[in-house]
């Protein structure tokens, strides 16, 4: 199935708009696409009429254009008829927003629409989903524009069974300055499933990292998914919900008891080189780091800080992840010391973590980052930047970005995220260097590069 019409439609029909209730999901979808997206959108309602000065068509056949994408937002019982109309009119892709299928006991109705779509070779997203958000292209989420938080366009594609989790991830990606290429809620995944989207995103040029929130797979579906994800040249990050064993099923063997659903899931991901995020913090951190850096590191870290305590906490977090923080040789320490400002030369501690102390200035951080970037025994530099130190400036982020652009060794940074420090954060993030609001998050970013 060709999914391009879903993500890059030129024309779109919204089936099921209300003529009386502008909060109707179909109306929200019509309005936002009509006002904000380049797609040509048509409203459909059996009764016809007008919506916001635009004609409401009584059927797809009436629309004077070929429809790429149809959004179906009618009651579950009416979905088969609407879908049939889409098939008759050679629509190229369908999103079924409506609920009332397998999730509420109507597996039969879901099987029916799935069979119709499959027979027609029609890609169908849903039912019971938010559908597709493709920045600057199309948005089928029935959330009013003013309520949504939209990350910048970028390289991360997010695919989620849950619409709610997807919207929440978008808020967090936006907060961390992580750019999105696509966000897709696949709901009950009657036809289009994770693996279909993976296949599309693998060859989609804007996407550099693909991440999935998965609740569960159908029988043997996980098997083919992990094989495809393992073969995908782009990093794939998976967050699995439902980690605790479901009830105490009587199991007849030790193996069955020791290999519960989650244990198998987690280990099989690792077997196929797929990055597992165990929670949202890991997912955000991994995606941010992998969208900035594609090369794999072995995991020898240099920590650069203005506070000994932060250095110690970072060492703990690195050790917990199995990242190495090698002690720098005496000769290396001497060379670094020679590059520091006179005021900290005698007080800085340089064995790794490198504590430049609260008296350090921008130039000290830049000199150390530059030196470490050229030191072969280190493959990632973890910067703990404390904007309240008097000798450093808001320019430090942009200046450190220059070091990366010149030297090419991955830098990851921790900076407390409050509005006051925003310029420092953006100095790095706008140059595509990953920054986390927590030390643990920054360490997870380094960990992600080891994939």
């Amino acid at each position: 199935m060709n999914l391009q019409a879903l993500f890059e439609p030129q024309t779109m029909a919204v089936i099921g708009v209300s003529l009386t209730n502008d909060r109707n999901p179909a109306n929200v979808i019509f309005t936002k696409n009509h006002l904000r997206y380049p797609v040509k959108v048509f409203a459909v309602n059996l009764r016809g009429g007008e919506l916001q000065g635009e004609r409401v068509f009584t059927s797809l056949a009436e629309i004077p254009a070929k429809i790429d994408l149809a959004v179906i937002a009618v009651k579950a019982e009416q979905v088969p008829a609407a879908l049939d109309e889409c098939i008759q009119n050679k629509v190229k892709g369908v999103v079924v927003i409506s609920g009332g299928f397998a999730e509420s006991g109507r597996q039969d109705l879901q099987d029916r629409i799935a069979a119709m779509a499959r027979t027609a070779g029609l890609p169908l997203v849903g039912p019971n989903c938010l559908g597709i958000y493709a920045p600057e292209k199309v948005d089928t989420f029935f959330l009013p524009s003013e309520r949504m938080v939209r990350p910048e366009p970028g390289g991360v594609a997010v695919v989620s069974q849950s619409g709610g989790v997807l919207v929440d991830l978008m808020v967090k990606f936006a907060g961390e300055g992580v750019g999105l290429s696509h966000a897709l809620s696949i709901g009950n995944k009657a036809v289009i499933r994770e693996q279909d989207v993976l296949t599309y995103l693998t060859q989609e040029p804007r996407t550099t990292v693909i991440t999935f929130y998965v609740e569960g797979f159908g029988r043997n579906e996980g098997r083919s998914f992990v094989r495809a994800a393992g073969a995908c040249p782009k990093p794939v990050v998976v967050l699995k919900a439902g980690k605790s064993p479901g009830g105490s099923r009587a199991v007849s063997s030790h193996t069955a008891s020791l290999s519960g659903d989650y244990a198998v899931f987690s280990e099989v991901l690792a077997q196929h080189g797929i990055v597992e995020a165990r929670n949202e913090l890991e997912l955000i951190s991994f995606c941010e780091a992998l969208s900035c850096y594609q090369d794999t590191i072995t995991g020898t870290i240099a920590i650069v800080t203005g506070s000994g305590g932060h250095g110690a906490l970072a060492v703990d977090a690195c050790s917990a992840q199995g990242l190495a923080i090698p002690v720098l040789p005496e000769k290396v320490q001497q060379e670094i010391r020679g590059k520091l400002s006179p005021s900290i030369q005698q007080i800085a501690s340089l064995s790794n973590p490198i504590d430049l102390t609260g008296s350090a200035v921008d130039e000290d951080f830049i000199a150390v980052a530059g030196y470490l970037s050229r030191l072969p025994s280190i493959d990632c530099i973890l910067l703990l930047l404390l904007p309240y130190l008097p000798g450093t400036s808001s320019d430090l982020g942009a200046l450190l970005s220059q070091v990366y652009l010149r030297e090419g060794k991955p830098l990851v940074a921790y900076i407390p995220h409050v509005e006051k420090y925003r310029m420092l954060v953006e100095g790095l993030e706008l140059n595509r260097l990953p920054v986390s609001p927590s030390i643990e998050g920054a360490v997870l970013m380094a960990e992600a590069l080891r994939r």
């Binding site: 797979f217 043997n220 030790h254 193996t255 069955a256 020791l258 290999s259 899931f265």
Partner: protein, 232 residues
């Protein structure tokens, strides 16, 4: 990679269907045919046969109850190790005869080594998977396991061993010799092929313990649980 079951193997599975699992001597026969090392054993139906076999391989031996109704042999005292004489063997035989569903006695050679568990399960989402872990009767207390989807490749086995918290036990710890990693790899590769071949017939398999030493890896106990009905 994918092997098919021989006719003889199919027959053993078919004969076991009514019980829902494969009796240990038959399971060992299957595993041996699949290329896994098992101890020398006999399924004795009388004390004379048991004695003849035990004398033949030499004491000490291990004896186990064979009964289609006893799944957990240790729980009912159905496993005795270190049988050293004809008299002890006879006493064990008499005891087993009183146990439910008695269908003979398994007599086999004693094997030494670190106790591992090698298992298989047909997972709903991922299909057949193989488990390697620290084995023995306390296996569910240690919960120290690695799991991989079949088919395994030899590099998977190395990664599975590294993935065990107690992997140092296998690599030679405090003067003990490291286990024969090649034998473990060969066993897991053969097991992977076997599991793929009988995937539709099984629910899970426990080889526990598998005894591993510098001299090799031997399946000391085996239980094959059959699927409720044959899957497509």
């Amino acid at each position: 990679m994918k092997t098919v079951l021989s006719k003889e193997m199919e027959e053993i599975f078919a004969a076991s269907r009514a019980a829902g699992w494969v009796l240990e001597p038959k399971a060992k026969q299957l595993l041996s045919m699949a290329g896994l090392a098992v101890p020398r054993f006999t399924w004795a139906n009388g004390i004379d046969e048991a004695t003849r076999f035990a004398r033949g391989i030499g004491y000490p031996v291990v004896v186990k109850i064979v009964s289609p109704t006893i799944l957990h042999k240790s729980d009912v005292g159905g496993v005795i190790i270190g049988i050293n004489s004809d008299e002890e063997l006879r006493a064990a035989y008499e005891r087993f005869r009183a146990l439910q569903g008695f269908a003979g006695m398994l007599v086999e050679e004693m094997v030494d080594g670190i106790e591992l568990i090698v298992g298989a399960k047909v997972d709903y989402q991922f299909g057949p998977v193989i488990l390697l872990g620290i084995g023995g009767t306390s296996v569910e207390i240690y919960k120290d396991t690695s799991i991989r989807m079949v088919p395994l490749i030899p590099q998977d086995v190395a990664a599975m061993v590294r993935g065990l918290r107690a992997h140092q036990l296998l690599e030679g710890y405090r003067g003990s010799a490291p286990i024969d990693v090649q034998a473990l790899t060969d066993m897991l590769m053969a097991f992977s092929a076997f599991v793929m071949a009988c995937e539709a017939l099984i629910e899970s398999i426990d080889l526990n313990p598998v005894k591993c030493s510098a001299k090799g890896c031997i399946v000391a106990d085996a239980r094959i649980m059959l699927a409720a009905e044959k899957k497509e």
